[in-house]
């Protein structure tokens, strides 16, 4: 930057710098405009329209679609279930991942293979993983049901309809969601563990700290950065997750196993209300923003250790 007038200008970029930077950031800007802002605009626009079942736009209705979303008698149970879904999945995912990452961080024979194995749920399609469990849970022919019948835990010969009842279907969905979230979370934490300097742990050992104490007061605080990324991305991912619940609870009548995402899907698929679905999408979008804002405010994940 030979022609830069001075150090002060470098700190506060002016219009000229922006113009110079534009060619470099333009592709990214175009992408954000086209892929994020434009669909968001269309979504918000649709949420204020009256769109017929066959998809014809019949004009503006103001915020009527939002009224419909909030006056739906099952909205609040669905909202609470969504929160339960996110909190339970994220908490268990992070706790289990912390354990797995700790094991994978130790040198042992075959570690490379075990590390690869942990990636498998990530590499496999979520729908595929879910379908495998779904069929395993089917009465009459599912292997999981067959196993439970054979060991005598279920006494009806055709097995239990795990995916036919809202509560059990929802619990199994949570288990699958945790399973598929583990690889990403584990690897993020593993990366965090790699940055913990070994001399801090050595120092703790020299001072006679117990392994538990070393972990909670030396290692864990240094994982703050990695953990906050893992939690944040998991919250967003899990909140927006449709396929698992769609497969696991799809055949259940009523709205006793729905989250906001499956409800959006039901508005489109069963009721053909693209307008109301858009309104609920906007609401979901705001909820995620609020959750993330609260998380950032309370946990302050970006604060230096």
């Amino acid at each position: 930057m030979g022609n830069a007038p001075g150090g002060a200008a470098r700190g506060r970029p002016g219009g000229r710098d922006l113009a110079k930077a534009l060619p470099w950031i333009a592709p990214a800007l175009a992408l954000i405009l086209g892929v994020v802002l434009f669909p968001a605009g269309v979504m918000f626009f649709n949420s204020t329209r009256d769109i017929s079942q066959s998809g014809v736009d019949k004009g503006s209705v103001g915020f009527d679609n939002y009224v419909e979303v909030f006056s739906f008698p099952y909205f609040w149970p669905i909202f609470l279930r969504t929160i339960v879904w996110v909190v339970v999945v994220v908490v268990f995912t992070v706790l289990i991942s912390l354990g797995i990452a700790q094991i994978l961080n130790k040198a042992f024979p075959g570690r490379r293979i075990v590390r690869l194995v942990v990636i498998i749920p990530w590499a496999a399609s979520v729908v595929m993983t879910t379908m495998v469990v779904y069929y395993g849970l089917e009465p009459y022919f599912g292997v999981i049901n067959k196993f439970l019948v054979d060991v005598g835990l279920i006494d009806t010969p055709e097995g239990y309809g795990w995916t036919r009842n809202p509560t059990t279907a929802f619990v199994w969905s949570i288990v699958i969601a945790i399973f598929v979230s583990l690889p990403f979370t584990t690897y993020t934490i593993l990366a965090g563990l790699a940055t913990v300097p070994s001399d801090t742990i050595e120092a703790a050992k020299m001072d006679g700290a117990s392994p538990a104490r070393t972990y909670f007061t030396v290692v864990l605080p240094q994982l703050r950065g990695a953990l906050s990324v893992a939690v944040l991305i998991n919250i967003i991912n899990v909140f927006n997750s449709l396929p698992i619940l769609k497969v696991m609870t799809g055949s259940i009548p009523g709205y006793d196993a729905d989250t906001i995402m499956t409800m959006i899907f039901k508005y489109i698929q069963n009721q053909h209300k693209v307008d109301v679905a858009s309104a609920l999408s906007v609401v979901a979008f705001l909820i995620v923003i609020v959750i993330v804002a609260v998380y950032v405010k309370v946990v302050k994940p970006t604060r230096e250790v």
Partner: protein, 414 residues
Amino acid sequence: MKKSHRFGAIALAAAATLTLASCGFGGGSSGGDASGKTTLNLLVPSYSDNTQGLWEDVISGFEKANPDIKVELEVQSWDNLESVIATKIQGGEAPDIYNGGPFAGFAADELLYPAKDVVSSDTYSDFQDAFLANAEVDGTAYALPLIASARALFVNNALLEQAGVAAPPTTWDELLDAATKVSALGGGVAGYGMPLGSEEAQAEAAVWLWGGGGSFGDASKITVDDPANLPGAEQIKKMIDAGATQADPGSTNRSPLMDIFVQGKIGMQVGLPPTVGQIEEGNPDLDYSIVPIPTKDGSAFTLGVMDQLMAFKNDDSKKDAITKFFDYYYSADVYVPWVQTEGFLPVTKSGAEALSGEEALKPFLDVLPDAQFYPSTNPKWSATDGAFKSLFGQIQTKSAQDVLTEIQAQADAG
């Protein structure tokens, strides 16, 4: 630095949320006619593994006879079909010819050609009158009947014999009695297979509610919450409470349950003509018979379903090409093998004649005169259909009246 991190987190949240929200906007197919040919876009659902091949045969035959017309085929699964068509219409990419179920919504939005305008008068008069009447909105047929199907009760003879039931049931009381006895055999055997899950809840609902003298309404009014529908709904509850059905009927889908019947673990279940082929393929040794669906008083009844072809008004220059295609398709030489391979019943007079000697279709052709249809010409039918799919299964746990009221409310709101 802190600020930008926080902003980054929110931007990330935004991007991730929007990815899901925006996935409803799919692309459509474009009707490019570079060589001066007329291109017809054809959107059809998949009835079986044969569907794509059958349509490809029709198209190649048609293109050979009409070298100036090109037909682009798109096959979708039934699950996706209605969202695909809605997305295409919203994007101004409606297909020229569409094979689907409910069409009254499209007719109300003035998107369709009247049937008379897109077939020759010979073809038009060859349709069975009852089917054509079922495609009318305010006296004008907006869709062409494509295939028909009727339902009948499939009975596992071996299981009924084992349970000591002498003859297949013809009334609800006999059905309840027979199904309870079969269920009592134990070993995972269920007396009556009752699929009220989201896949096709409206069909099983119709079998019961209409069999008790009810109806879903007509072209102008949806009447699900009607006292006439209560006996049927109460009888469903009676069957469930007596343990005469498989477990969790409210969330069991039809296709997987039919597989269990084919395996010989269910005493009785309502099936369709293609079920015959399914048994042939999956378990040819199954000893079964096909009888009319039992009703409250034993009177004959079947649920008829008709799927239609409809032509969208995209570009008036394509009208002639569409007419040519329909006339070609409905000629007996093309149409009959098509219907026969798919295992459905023909809707043309010439087709019915050609297939009258078919043994497997006979039980269904016999009940066809007593067929009642969904009120599919009612613009609210699509919403009603969706309401049945997502709500009717609750009858397993809720009171019959509550479920009917809830479905009516959702149908009216649609």
